[in-house]
């Protein structure tokens, strides 16, 4: 199988280049990550992040034939050849398929991604009905792989000002939590020409999410909450 992979090592390369590989896959090589590990046994300098190999840790996000996804849950069979692999777009490249995610996590941290509730906690659990808890489905499952934010043109242009779909999905995860008391504070922070309103409903985020989540929908929910509180 043929691959064309983005290579750049700042320790020795002046500029990035695409390197071709051709390997024979074994029957056990089902996913793209298996193929990459096989390539790595031939060329140990190919650098990528990976850990759980089952789509829950979010390490091996990359651009696969022009579309962001996780290598470990992308079946290698059926990919168009040569399989073109590039680092996630819009973030600085550290080396090969490894990007610098500092900006992405800064935006995640900016929305205060933790429960805020200043009441003294009860001796047992805070109660939450199954219906209230169901509001968090489709939100808490995010694995912070950055496929969505790095597929978003608004995030490419303003990664320092626009929170981006991943951060906004988590902002809504806490806005939607019946136990959270910081709704006003959270909405105040997002009421800004960039942080929330750079979203132009292009929907790349929802289209690429490897976990099948819908950041676009969460963003429109936040916008609705904002509209409601002004009237």
């Amino acid at each position: 199988m043929k691959f064309s992979i983005y290579r750049f090592d700042p320790d020795k390369d002046e500029k990035p280049y695409m390197q071709d590989y051709e390997i024979t896959l074994e029957p056990a090589d089902r996913m793209l990550l298996d193929a990459l590990i096989r390539i790595k046994t031939v060329d140990d300098s190919l650098s990528l992040r990976r850990s759980c190999r089952e789509g829950v840790c979010g390490s091996d996000a990359m651009n696969i034939n022009g579309r962001n996804g996780l290598a470990c849950i992308t079946p290698v069979k059926g990919l168009r050849e040569p399989v073109e692999l590039r680092p996630l777009p819009g973030l600085p490249v550290i080396r090969d398929l490894i990007v610098d995610m500092t900006q992405f996590f800064k935006q995640y941290h900016s929305i205060k991604p933790y429960l805020i509730n200043d009441d003294p906690p009860p001796e047992t659990e805070r109660l939450q009905s199954p219906e209230e808890r169901a509001e968090l489905d489709g939100l808490y499952e995010c694995i912070l792989c950055a496929c969505c934010s790095t597929a978003c043109p608004s995030f490419w242009w303003n990664p320092d000002k626009y929170v981006g779909p991943a951060g906004l999905l988590q902002a809504y995860r806490f806005l939607a939590d019946s136990r959270d008391q910081a709704t006003a504070e959270r909405l105040d922070y997002l009421e800004d020409p960039y942080r929330l309103f750079r979203c132009h409903s292009i929907m790349n985020c929802t289209d690429v999410c490897p976990k099948g989540l819908n950041p676009m929908e969460a963003i429109s929910q936040i916008k609705t909450m904002m509209t409601k509180r002004t009237i």
């Binding site: 850990s51 979010g58 550290i94």
Partner: protein, 587 residues
């Protein structure tokens, strides 16, 4: 060569659930703490835990911590230390409520309380009816917990060193621990992180086996660092083989499937667990189920062309239950086994999953080792929690959902102990001039090695050797050959070569260093397993099929330097209640 150094009150190696729970305690107490992790914290392997956290909340069925304690002691096949087990089970409800207060999105019952499900080995009334004790977030409990703990650490301003790998533990001439040397993976720089308290929370090492549920990063780094620094490793012969890894892939299918009502079938469509465990059936303890499955395979009743796997049936639970309670499992089965469990069973096989052994500690998280006066002297400045530690609450076999509980309880306890200890130890001890020399020598060896062996190939040989010689059932001749073979592999590991010499994000270098660590863990496992001549929990010997409490009711201690073994007594005396004396273990 001089190496940059930084000083902290405490250094934590590993940012999974245990490391982050401890970090939270220290950060909220205002201490200066550095948390090192090979991966971004939310990518740690806690993220892959599925089924739940055990705590006797009694939200569904009547329950109390004492029953939980009994189950854990019995599950451990009486090798667990009963003081630590009492400590853990007593605190379980409190740490779960605490996690809920942090924002953990637990599933809920109609009355608004935390949802609980049954798991294997859980009983009411000291061995009576099935208990319902595992607090769950669908089948993504570990993911929800790891993210919740990370989020809470963001709030507490914990300082993370992301993509840093611990290289070696630093001790002075008294054996006191002073910190670690570590590699900044992104820049290739080595640094000494000096600390008044060093906590290892580096997770497991089941990557020593070919078929493993574990992530690539689970390479036993903390154990190897401790072993290289002269700290013994405890009970390394005890590895849990989870009954249900996806056939051919190894990915975990949670016991929650059986907790929700799924069961195993052989090729005749027989629910064979009824024969092996008439009472608990598919919810017998994991060692029992894995042995039953392996016996079915050995005796020709397994499925598939090669008669080498069994089937996990859950379609009878109905689409609604599967989608609501087991959505992650369904996703995995569809992607990796091409089977939608709503309609068809999942092909599964026992798969290496969890290391019961580890760095010996007491229930305060302090590392203990024989030194001058006894087998359990505190190693000053050194702490360990979670899978890399051996408290020992799991003994010879861990119960499902006790691992997430373990890391919460002992992460918090170690944090509290460090806070207390640092009130007394107010100054950093003198750092020897050669503190980083061993680590630097290993790196220099790798950089200059010529005509060496390929890391991936030697690693493959290591995993195959462990898989063939130290699996679910163990045989005298295979263990004996295994010790020789794994020793050969360990020699080859010393001559690995990497072609990538770049300083920047050199993953080849990281994998070579990880292989050093895997070799330490593998040798410790094989040597300890060969020596234990009985069957207990997950250690099942063909030539010694029974538990032998007269000779073997004791913990193994393995010393890396001369591969020497020593033993120490099991702590049979709990903190406040009566001891549970060893008795026959049936499910």
């Amino acid at each position: 060569m001089t190496v940059a150094r930084r000083k902290f009150d405490a250094v934590i190696v590993g940012a999974g659930g245990g490391g982050m729970r401890a970090a939270l305690q220290l950060s909220e107490a205002g201490l200066k703490v550095a948390v090192l992790s090979k991966v971004f914290p939310t990518r740690s392997h806690t993220v892959a835990a599925q089924g739940g956290i055990a705590a006797a909340l009694g939200n569904v069925t009547e329950d109390n911590w004492h029953w939980h304690m009994y189950d854990t002691v019995k599950g451990s096949d009486y090798l667990g230390d009963q003081d630590a087990i009492e400590f853990m089970c007593r605190q379980a409800s409190e740490v779960v409520y605490e996690l809920e207060h942090y924002g953990m999105p637990f599933d809920r019952l109609e009355n608004g309380k935390i949802y609980q499900r049954p798991f294997g080995g859980q009983s009411q009334n000291f061995g009576g009816a099935q208990a319902t004790r595992s607090c769950a977030v669908a089948d993504r409990t570990g993911h929800a917990m790891l993210h919740t703990l990370y989020q809470r650490n963001v709030r507490a301003n914990t300082q993370f060193f992301v993509e840093w790998m611990g290289l070696d533990l630093i001790r002075d001439e008294h054996g006191d621990v002073l910190g670690v040397s570590a590699l900044d993976i992104e820049t290739g720089e080595v640094m000494i992180l000096q600390a008044r308290a060093t906590l290892f929370a580096t997770g497991g090492g089941a990557r020593i086996f070919s078929a493993s549920t574990n992530a690539f990063i689970n390479t036993g780094d903390g154990l190897a660092m401790a072993a290289r620094a002269g700290v013994p490793l405890q009970d390394m012969e005890f590895w849990q083989f989870h009954p249900t890894g996806v056939y051919g892939v190894g990915i975990l299918i949670s016991e929650a499937v059986r907790g929700e009502g799924g069961y195993l079938l052989n090729k005749d469509g027989e629910r064979f667990m009824e024969r092996y465990a008439p009472h608990a059936k598919d919810l017998a303890s994991r060692d029992v189920v894995s042995r039953a499955m392996t016996t079915e395979i050995k005796e020709g009743r397994a499925c598939g062309r090669d008669a080498d796997h069994l089937l996990l049936k859950l379609d009878h639970l109905g689409e609604d239950v599967i989608k609501a309670r087991l959505p992650g499992i369904r996703e995995i089965a569809i992607k990796f086994a091409h089977a939608d469990p709503v309609r068809e069973p999942i092909p599964v096989v026992p798969t290496a999953h969890y290391m019961m052994g580890g760095i010996p500690t007491n229930f305060h998280g302090q590392v203990v080792a024989p030194y001058k006066t006894g087998p359990e002297e505190v190693v000053q400045g050194f702490y360990a929690v979670g899978e890399c530690a051996c408290v020992s609450v799991h003994g010879a076999n861990r119960l499902g959902t006790n691992s997430l509980l373990d890391i919460l309880v002992f992460g918090r306890a170690a944090g509290n102990q460090i806070i207390e200890d640092l009130k007394r130890n107010t100054h950093h001890k003198h750092l020897p001039g050669d503190a980083a020399d061993k680590a630097l020598a290993r790196l220099a060896r790798l950089d200059s090695q010529k005509d060496g062996e390929n890391v991936a190939q030697v690693g493959d040989m290591l995993r195959k050797t462990m898989q063939a010689h130290c699996g679910v059932f163990r045989f005298a001749d295979l263990l004996k050959q295994g010790v020789d073979k794994i020793s050969e592999v360990a020699e080859r590991v010393k001559n690995t070569e990497i072609r990538d010499k770049s300083r920047v994000f050199n993953t080849a270098r990281v994998e070579a260093l990880e292989l050093d660590n895997l070799a330490e863990v593998a040798v410790a496992t094989m040597v300890s397993a060969q020596a234990r001549k009985e069957s207990r929990g997950a250690h099942a010997r063909d030539d010694f099929p029974h538990r032998d409490d007269d000779k073997w009711l004791k913990h193994t201690l393995y010393f890396s330097e001369d591969r020497r073994l020593d033993y120490k007594p099991v702590r049979l005396k709990p903190l406040t209640v009566e001891s549970f004396p060893p008795k026959a273990r049936t499910y």
